[in-house]
């Protein structure tokens, strides 16, 4: 935790910037006046209640949703005007169909299609890279199996591998630990840290697991239509901030020992 806190102190480049971004579906505003800066090499955690607009915010950053107002820059460009290799994305809900006729290896290879270029098939080197990636998530044995026959958690891990395989500059993860068992989760966050240290990869991650966010994120954005706080995780989880975002039910949401609210409760008991 400590050395990471020091990292933040250093001057880092901004790779994504949102300036007064507003998004609505029909009449309802989902995001209001969002200002956000993401720094290179940093893990940004986004927390907030269901329907708070977290997935929408990610889609805005990725260029999948166009804001009604405001500007978005990703690597100095409009998000939908960039090549695909710089970004790996793990959606919250996979639209993939169980009967889809691809193998696990095929799915990971898709993450390299942007590099393969038009009119070409992924060659042997691409397959090697994909297999390496699968070994790192302990799924190499399943490479030749149908993607649809895997369990939900295994599919999620393969989707993570697809997002990581091109060694992107930015990794966008929408609730990556959904359905992944504790051991695999630990491995996953280790892998994330490795990638960050090796490649200086930046991460934007939505999670409901505040324990995970405090343990792994360098900074946190708390989102409920508006961005309530953006800073270091330890500071974010103050009761005032939490209550504003989640309302009074926050005890249910918070499990981490460092959580200020829980601390207060323990003190009350003593």
């Amino acid at each position: 935790m400590k050395d990471r806190a020091m990292n933040i102190g250093e001057k880092k480049d901004v790779f994504a910037e949102l300036h007064d971004v507003w998004v609505r579906y029909n009449v309802k505003w989902i995001l209001k006046s969002i200002y956000l800066k993401c720094y290179e090499g940093e893990i940004l955690g986004i927390v907030g209640p269901n329907g708070g607009g977290k997935s929408t915010l990610l889609k805005v950053i990725l260029g999948l949703v166009r804001p009604e107002k405001g500007s978005v820059q990703l690597f100095g460009r409009m998000p939908d005007k960039r090549g695909g290799l710089e970004v790996g994305y793990l959606p919250q809900i996979s639209h993939a169909d169980r009967s889809f006729p691809v193998t696990v290896l095929d799915v990971v290879l898709m993450g390299l299609y942007g590099r393969t270029g038009f009119f070409k098939r992924p060659g042997r080197s691409a397959k090697e890279i994909a297999m390496n990636m699968l070994s790192r998530i302990n799924m190499a044995d399943h490479a030749k199996e149908s993607f649809g026959t895997l369990s939900g958690g295994q599919q999620q891990r393969v989707n993570v591998a697809r997002a990581l395989v091109s060694k992107p500059k930015l990794l966008v993860l929408d609730e990556p630990s959904t359905g992944i068992d504790t051991v695999a989760q630990e491995e996953f966050y280790e892998l994330l840290a490795e990638f960050r240290d090796e490649l200086g990869i930046s991460v934007i991650m939505v999670s409901h697991d505040i324990g995970v966010i405090t343990a792994h994120a360098d900074s946190v954005a708390c989102l409920n239509t508006q961005l309530h706080y953006h800073g270091e995780p330890d500071l974010c989880f103050k009761p005032e901030v939490m209550e504003k975002i989640y309302g009074k039910n926050l005890k249910v949401m918070i499990h981490d020992s460092r959580c200020v609210t829980c601390y207060k409760r323990h003190e009350d008991h003593d």
């Binding site: 695909g84 994305y89 639209h95 993939a96 169909d97 009967s99 898709m110 299609y113 038009f118 149908s146």
Partner: protein, 271 residues
Amino acid sequence: MIEILNLEFMRNAFMAGIMLSPVLAVVSFFVVLRRFSFIGVGVAHSAFGGVALGSLLGISPTLTALGFSVAVANGISYIGRQGKLSTDTAIGIFFALAMALGVIFIGMSDQYNVDLFGYLFGNILAITNQDLITIAVLGGMVLVSIFLFFKELLFVAFDSEVASVSGMPVAFLDHFFMTLLALSVVISIKIVGIVLVSSLLVIPGATAFQITNRYISMIVVSIAVSLAATIGGLLISYYADLASGATIVILASIIFFIAFTVGRFRKGRKI
């Protein structure tokens, strides 16, 4: 067998069927993957408006049908991607609009010699050498296009959002595929007809789905089914004196149901 091939119209029908089979099979692979079956129906029926306009103006009905189908296919895709209306709503609207226009055009036309029944249900007697050239050129274009953009089309079919983030030009690929679908429909009209052609955009792919779960073998099976149905259907229709388009479709359906039953049986045994 040899005697059939002495008849020019049967020769033409076989050649058309053999050239169309791989085209329809490969398109149907994606139609089934993307659940576009109903789009196939809508696009095929919109060709009716085009055929009617062509005969009203006295120009090639294939050309006008091409215009109608390509426009409707892209219109459906465009409305679908705006997100407010579902594609099947768009299909419902365009389908009816194109048919209605067709009826008006036919009413306006004083030519009663247009073989409407042939366009609706197929007429292999009407396949000219010119048609064969059209099928070869447009069908070849469809096949080559899908071959060149295969991995992109596959990725978009698998997960279009992730594909978009990974740099695939999703909107372009959607319109591109819709255009290919429209081309395949129009060049198949003479052999199976507007009403029945959509089934050949579904059945080969759906049959392959029952049998295998690898995309390469799926495409191979799909082509095999398509060829078997077309050639078998033409033979049966000739000897039994049945309508050829309908025979092809019925044979394809029988092959599908056999594969479906075998597929069930195999799955059942695994458990």
